[in-house]
Symmetry: C2
Subunit: 305 residues, 2 copies
């Protein structure tokens, strides 16, 4: 039986793409519910400049408000030296640096070319490691770029090798705009894992075109054992507002448990957390398991009254 | 490059689970748009007693109103002798008989035990073949039953063998309540295809828990080359009203084309058909590709005005 690590990214990657602002107190309550549901690895915010992502402007306050739990790893994005300083003022356990596999997306997202981004990340990783933190790397647009279309796997290999050399322990491969299809995932991973061991890679799939779960399945087949997902399937796509967000944690858990993989997550409790998020965001979330749970619950409540 | 046959079941299995009644004229317009999008195999209605499924009560009228197209195969469900008489009064090209792999579901759905259902189907198949029609078989609840839970694959093997002996050319294996997960699909198909050649089987997955596409992918890996889906992901689950419906044709086409499999379907035209269905049903449909299409379209129209 395969072991899989699920990284819950709803409070960061999910919320980052949700327009309705949530209070720090609501985020804290959601984090508590996720923990109660069994989530152990949780990316909670990003220390980018508050102007960039107003939804995450409370990063320091929120991170400092999180319940102290030795069994939960809190993670956050750290873009640069300034972000690192803010992060170090909080009890966040693990940091993540990020860049894109495509030059144009990197420029739009980070305002720098890829080559100029390396030294910035290098400085963050070096100092973070010095402070005893583990650092993850994110590579965006691995499976397609909104500006360049297909992205060469060679470019991703090169970036992964640079990140690993910096001291990053794992690299999450992002299908940022949700265009990947299973054969593409299989082929790219076959090439990538000739250069980077699969245990150093994670799959970060978006469900913009409904393929997040099948891509995750193919990634598992290729030896990837860490997958990112967001409760409720929260989030969206900045390039198609209204489209679906991250792979939904509920659907991922349902699939994995059905494959005999123990996730340690209580699906009903997770759905309850997502129902609270739906209420706070004022909109339904796309997870199919959540929708079934919600429909069944309403039916039972209808029968009970 | 693998060849895949997509069977569009939205107008039957989709509508059957949609509460808002559509007029015969609207169904005809949707059929025309599906044909314009490149759909060649289309299940359009069911000749069950009109009282059972009011949404499909216009079966004869609708079937007779369909555009004459030698390149499109119109299909319909035929439950019994009476249904067959109604079907034979229409230009429907191909019939489908159905039963469940689980005894309790068969009793609830057909009001007969499995053993008592065989002679009814046998009569329909015999007469339909005599009239020069091809007949497909549907087996429901292959991957799980709302009353019995897991369903033994041995039972499905036996039913498939009986159906093939009757003269059915293909059997569509239904995950009626959308509970299947990829390893289960793989294992059941490995057993089934030891008894029934994969080219005689089709996969009919529901997306109640988000696994329809990954299950379809696994079915392809096991040699199945016919898949059922509904445009927009129309439909639902009678056991959890509000839950997602059939595998969405748009998402299936996106995945298949991304795997290098030519479906002959124009995704934009298909999405336009689904947008019309959304309007007619007064609700959004769950296909992720459709949602992206719709979001991008709204964004462009916003920019244009």
């Amino acid at each position: 039986m395969q072991e899989v690590t699920l990284v819950e990214v709803g409070l960061r990657d999910g919320l980052q793409n949700e327009a309705t602002p949530l209070s720090t107190a609501m985020k804290r309550e959601l984090a508590e519910r996720l923990i109660a549901a069994g989530v152990k690895e949780m990316e909670v915010t990003s220390f980018v400049h508050p102007r960039w992502i107003p939804q995450l402007a409370d990063a320091v306050d929120f991170a400092c408000s999180l319940p102290e739990r030795s069994d939960v790893c809190y993670r956050a994005l750290v873009p640069n030296r300034k972000g690192l300083e803010r992060a170090l003022a909080t009890p966040i356990d693990e940091y993540a640096v990020f860049l894109s596999a495509s030059e144009s997306h990197n420029r739009k997202n980070i305002n720098k070319g890829i080559a100029e981004t390396y030294p910035v990340l290098e400085e963050v990783v070096k100092e973070a490691l010095h402070q005893g933190k583990r650092v993850r790397g994110y590579v965006s647009t691995v499976f397609g770029c909104p500006y360049e279309g297909d992205v060469s796997v060679g470019q991703t290999v090169e970036i992964c090798e640079r990140l690993l050399k910096m001291g990053v322990y794992e690299i999450s491969l992002g299908d940022t705009i949700g265009v990947a299809t299973p054969i593409q995932v299989k082929e790219k991973l076959k090439t990538l894992t000739r250069h980077v061991p699969p245990e150093r890679l994670a799959g970060h799939f978006h469900d913009t075109r409904g393929t997040a779960l099948v891509n995750a399945y193919v990634a598992l087949e290729e030896g990837i054992t860490t997958l990112d997902s967001a409760f409720g399937g929260m989030g969206g796509c900045p390039y198609a507002p209204g489209a679906a967000g991250n792979a939904a944690t509920e659907d991922m858990v349902y699939m994995l448990e059905g494959m005999g993989i123990d996730t340690g997550i209580d699906l009903d409790a997770l759905c309850e957390a997502s129902l609270l998020a739906e209420k706070a965001l004022g909109k339904p979330l796309p997870s199919k398991v959540l929708q079934s749970f919600s429909a069944t619950k309403q039916q039972q409540e209808g029968k009970a009254t």
